[in-house]
Symmetry: C2
Subunit: 270 residues, 2 copies
């Protein structure tokens, strides 16, 4: 892919802001509402889909049709739309629907712009706290009501001093869960329940590791862009690119990433 | 205890606001700061105490010395101070220190005014989201940047439709953990990691159950006041008052409380 010009990069950053603004409005309109309806998308497990998911993705798709008709779109709710450029907007209108349904400020809107080799720019937006974490094209910033701040992962280099997050203690398959809990037994603190907000906290230098399994591409592409821009590393459990989803290991720095990978890479490639 | 006059109640509510304002300032001054120092209060487990804890409790104690010198004070960091009235201010400057250290907006400042028979008024304040949940003396309200809202627990009456929260999956002792996970296996959804914010979400009608063990009085007195004001029920696992701490079951309504108690009361009184 040809290098993007500065004008093109700035245009992409501006479009990403407009998408996040639109999704923020739609998701907040239903958040903590009394009449929120859920339905079960899967026969096999609890997977609520809300009006808000669909409304937010629809709003973003309408904006892209107007502002970036040349690009492809991959969204959680409405699938793949093929464009003519080699750029794809990857959208998760509400990452952490269970958190959203429970009223926690842990879910987020995930927006990534992906080239042929992976994500180039990403946004993790938390509409209720009004925090927006952005990374890529030389940008690594959080904007929020308490002020703006540069994203910068921290230097914790040993597992025994590290803080690890994952969304659920029931991580993935039996073998994945076992490897996760081996890692958890070696860190200072393990916490759960933060959805995509955990990746934002890693980029902000507040925590050290996020480990998950069974992710979709739209769950992880924006976090990859934001964390890499902040100086962190995101791979799968074999150390390979993670932008296709599956098992994810995000770390604040190379030394800690290597220490966690030593444990997680014992799991045979899935 | 003699019934408190309306003037006295209003004075107490006003003092509680000033305490929460003071604690909000002190806790935010250190939240997500780069130089935050922790030390280990316990030899046995990770229990960080921060400057912010101490500064917030000190600020609240100074205000009480000025505004309510007649009342007793029980605080997490500086213990019991005996006053002359039969009222006690019960303070937890940062409930959820691990969440605070990890940058999550799940910790809170807990302030309760307790009479001889239990809490009369309580505040759960989340300084970063600027949300304040208050209950007692006829008040049941959340104030926050998205507007004010009446607190009102929801009517979910069966376990199979209920959303359950607890701070950690490793709840209490082996026998307590086993009972918790039996309950968790019967609900629609179990989530972790919210610290005292889970009680606020229950009062707001967003979730249905919070179950914890090993609590201190200052961990639970403010949540009891807020949840009861919102129409919910908080007891220990035998259905008795929970304001002395220990095992706690908070539910949005009597029917759901009874269903959860059926399981948790199998654990012999501790």
């Amino acid at each position: 892919m040809a290098e993007l010009s500065t004008d093109e990069r700035n245009a992409i950053i501006a479009v990403a802001q407009r998408l996040a603004d639109a999704a923020r409005k739609e998701t907040l309109a239903h958040f903590r509402g009394a009449g929120l309806q859920t339905e079960n998308k899967s026969q096999h497990h609890f997977d609520p889909v809300t009006e808000a998911d669909r409304a937010a993705e629809t709003a973003m798709r309408h904006l892209l049709a107007e502002l970036r008709p040349q690009d492809s779109i991959l969204g959680e709710e409405f699938g793949f739309h093929e464009g003519e450029s080699d750029l794809t907007w990857v959208l998760d209108p509400i990452d952490g629907t269970r958190g959203y349904m429970s009223g926690t400020p842990t879910w987020g809107v995930l927006i990534a712009l992906c080239g042929p080799d992976g994500p180039l720019f990403g946004v993790i937006d938390q509409p209720y706290t009004a925090e927006r974490f952005m990374g890529g094209f030389g940008l690594a910033e959080m904007h929020g009501p308490h002020g703006n701040r540069r994203l910068d992962t921290r230097e914790t280099s040993t597992l025994e001093r590290a803080v690890l997050f994952s969304t659920f203690p029931e991580v993935g398959t039996d073998v994945e869960r076992s490897a996760f809990h081996t890692l958890a037994s070696q860190v200072k603190l393990t916490r759960y329940g933060m959805d995509c907000y955990a990746y934002a906290l890693l980029a902000l230098g507040q925590i050290d590791l996020v480990v998950e399994a069974g992710l979709q591409p739209y769950d992880i592409q924006a976090p990859i862009a934001v964390i890499e821009a902040a100086g962190g590393i995101v791979t799968d459990w074999q150390g390979n690119p993670a932008h296709q989803g599956g098992r994810v290991l995000a770390a604040g720095n190379a030394q800690l990433h290597a220490a966690a990978l030593d444990i997680l890479s014992q799991v045979p490639a899935g």
